[in-house]
């Protein structure tokens, strides 16, 4: 009887597993395979070249630049988004009874659902060196206007700001769910013991929300490493609207695949990206997972 149940369960889940394997596992496996081949996307021949693609990656200055930029952007977004989302979620949660609570939540969540390209175009205008409101504001306060989209450092900062602005809404929403599930008795007890609101936040909310922080930080970091459209739009070389191309990994992969016709080489970049994201996710799990919880 037990065996029949197992068989039934297995058969029931098999179609789903098959679809999952085909759309998720197979592409990863194929990417791994391609990374060991030389393939120009057009030819039927895909000669096996071992680790030659990876060896070339190690000496490729464009790949190194893309890797550095992507890492800075991913961690920059993480460092801005997580603390800010936590604080904002706490503020919104403690103002739940306010008649503006819905407005606060919506205002913060809207950037997450806004289409990426128009949003990036709007930010491109904000950062515009000559006509942008950001420089107008700086000038009003006596600061020197900056070439936001042209300076190698500032252009990366611009992408971090844009990505954080988009990621914040989602993170706040998830934290709000976390706040709503926290036991109120603990906060009441802390209040009776004389704990102030910031103390309750720091010593109760933050540790109790560790699992939420783990989830949000993994999602934020992974999406940070996959940054592409933001860099593409902010530097789009439309007539008369120049911008410095911030090279990120996904952009470099696309360029190698479809402009340079080097799919095997691009696949080796994808493998490196996959390895980085996996390692970082494991580290986050180790750092943030509560002791004893499996």
């Amino acid at each position: 009887m037990q065996r029949k149940r197992w068989m039934f369960a297995l058969l029931a889940i098999l179609p789903t597993l098959a679809i999952f394997a085909y759309v998720r596992i197979y592409p990863i496996g194929d990417t791994l395979r391609l990374s060991l081949h030389k393939w120009d996307i057009l030819s039927k021949n895909k000669p096996f070249i071992g680790f030659a693609n990876f060896e070339e990656l190690a000496g490729d200055p464009l790949f190194r630049e893309a890797l550095l930029n992507t890492t800075i952007i991913a961690f920059g977004v993480l460092l801005i988004t997580i603390p800010l989302a936590l604080v904002l979620a706490a503020l919104i949660y403690h103002r739940t009874r306010s008649r503006f609570a819905g407005f606060y939540e919506t205002a913060i969540f809207i950037p997450h659902v806004v289409s990426l390209v128009p949003a990036a175009m709007a930010w491109k205008w904000i950062f515009d060196a000559r006509l942008g409101p950001l420089n107008a504001l700086l000038t009003t306060f006596g600061f020197v206007p900056k070439a936001w989209l042209f300076d190698p450092v500032l252009s990366v900062v611009c992408i971090i700001v844009l990505c954080s602005w988009q990621a914040l809404g989602y993170a706040v929403m998830i934290y709000l769910v976390g706040f709503k599930s926290l036991p109120t008795s603990l906060f009441e007890a802390a209040k009776l013991d004389g704990a102030s609101a910031p103390q309750s936040f720091w010593y109760l909310s933050v540790p109790l929300l560790k699992p939420i922080t783990l989830y949000v930080s993994v999602v934020t970091l992974v999406s940070g490493f996959n940054v592409y459209a933001q860099a593409f739009v902010l530097a789009s070389d439309a007539q008369g609207a120049p911008g410095r191309q911030v090279r990120v990994l996904v952009l470099d992969m696309l360029e190698n695949s479809f402009r340079n016709y080097r799919v095997g080489y691009a696949a080796s970049e994808a493998v490196v990206l996959l390895a980085i994201v996996l390692v970082l996710t494991l580290i986050q799990f180790r750092l943030l997972r509560e002791k004893g919880v499996r």
Binding site: D237, Q239, G240
Partner: protein
Amino acid sequence: MIGALNSATTTSLKRRSGRTALLGAFMLTGLSAASAQTVTVWSGYPEMAPFYEHVAQGLKAKHPNLNVKVEAIALREHEKRIALGLTSGVAGATVIELQGSTVRRYLENDLLPKAPDAVVNFVKDKTNFDEFFTSNASYEGAIYGVPLFRGQAALFYNTDMFKAAGLTTPPKTMEEYTQYAEKLTKRGSDGNPTASGWSLRLTGGGQGIAEKFWINLFQYGGSVLEPTADGKWRANYANEAGRATLKQYLQNVHVLKTVTPEMPADAEAFERGQTAMFIRESWVIGDIASKAPNLTYATAPLPRGSIALPTNLYVKAEGADAKAAWDFVMATNEPENLTWLLKNVGWLPNRSGVDYSSVTNAAPAFNAFVNYPKDYKFFTLPSIGPIEEVLTRLAAQLTNAFRNASLAKDDAAIDAFLKSAADETNQILRREGLLGK
């Protein structure tokens, strides 16, 4: 009874004839649907969409059931679409617009069919096309495409701004370009430029930066790649011509400050009076006509010569669909359509023996593109597989160099930069077995 029968028969006949008419109408609709053909045009130049629609409209009389769908998107996205589309298989008949330098890989892999005999005869006819264009549409002696238009550069200059700066003629040497740029730059009270004297391509993505650099380099007698005696290629810019070209960029950006990377640039800046001059292809004439019709400007040939980058039309289709697609391609080369292209879009048609004077006389700006000096020279991008990679990687290097103020007054540093970039170019060629001796 008879009457009743007759009546019944009549009713029956009426019903039958009604059903027959319905069936006939259905079959006609079916036949019509079966004979209706759709040709999709993939273009990498959004401004070309009205031209293809115009050609389709003209074909209506000959092919009433032909439906032409024009899908014109930005060039870089278009290239990705072709790479993915041709390898995974495109549905239906597709006319594909491709530069001769890019198509090579697709032909090497049999991804595009040869042109039919009638098209071959048309393209090979020397009264229709110069050998340069025929050869550009061929691979291993066979014709695969039909030449349509070319990208050819000239100087565009704002005559009002020239007049205000006391300049009456366009610059004739590259040295004069810098001198003119200095005079033409408008500056604010703080000395910073508010309108550039000469708009240079300094930023952005893709290979455009390297192509523009190559045009300037060509004026100094250099080229990004040069053919070698063994039929291969090597980098040809780590030399005096390369140094002069890069130094001119750096001087204008960092020393004379006639242009900065963050300034509005290119055609849009020119149309708004935010730059006094820039080098671009003839499509800008059509763009100005539609966006800034009151702009007073003129064009001039470049000091030594220009790029000539032919774009051809290829077909991916089979059977009757292929015939309809090739008919469309041939229609694009009809004199009336080519004149329309020149007048309304501005790209230069490649077909010879067509009287374009009605357009060129009405728009003197075309003069620099058609009435150039006798010793004017042309170059094109080599039809080799890694040309895009060579240019894209050079563009990435150049972007960094343009930003580096310390290079501006240091010839040794410029030489070191050029050598490093040329080494990378040669490395790409070596990897592909194309590096010449």
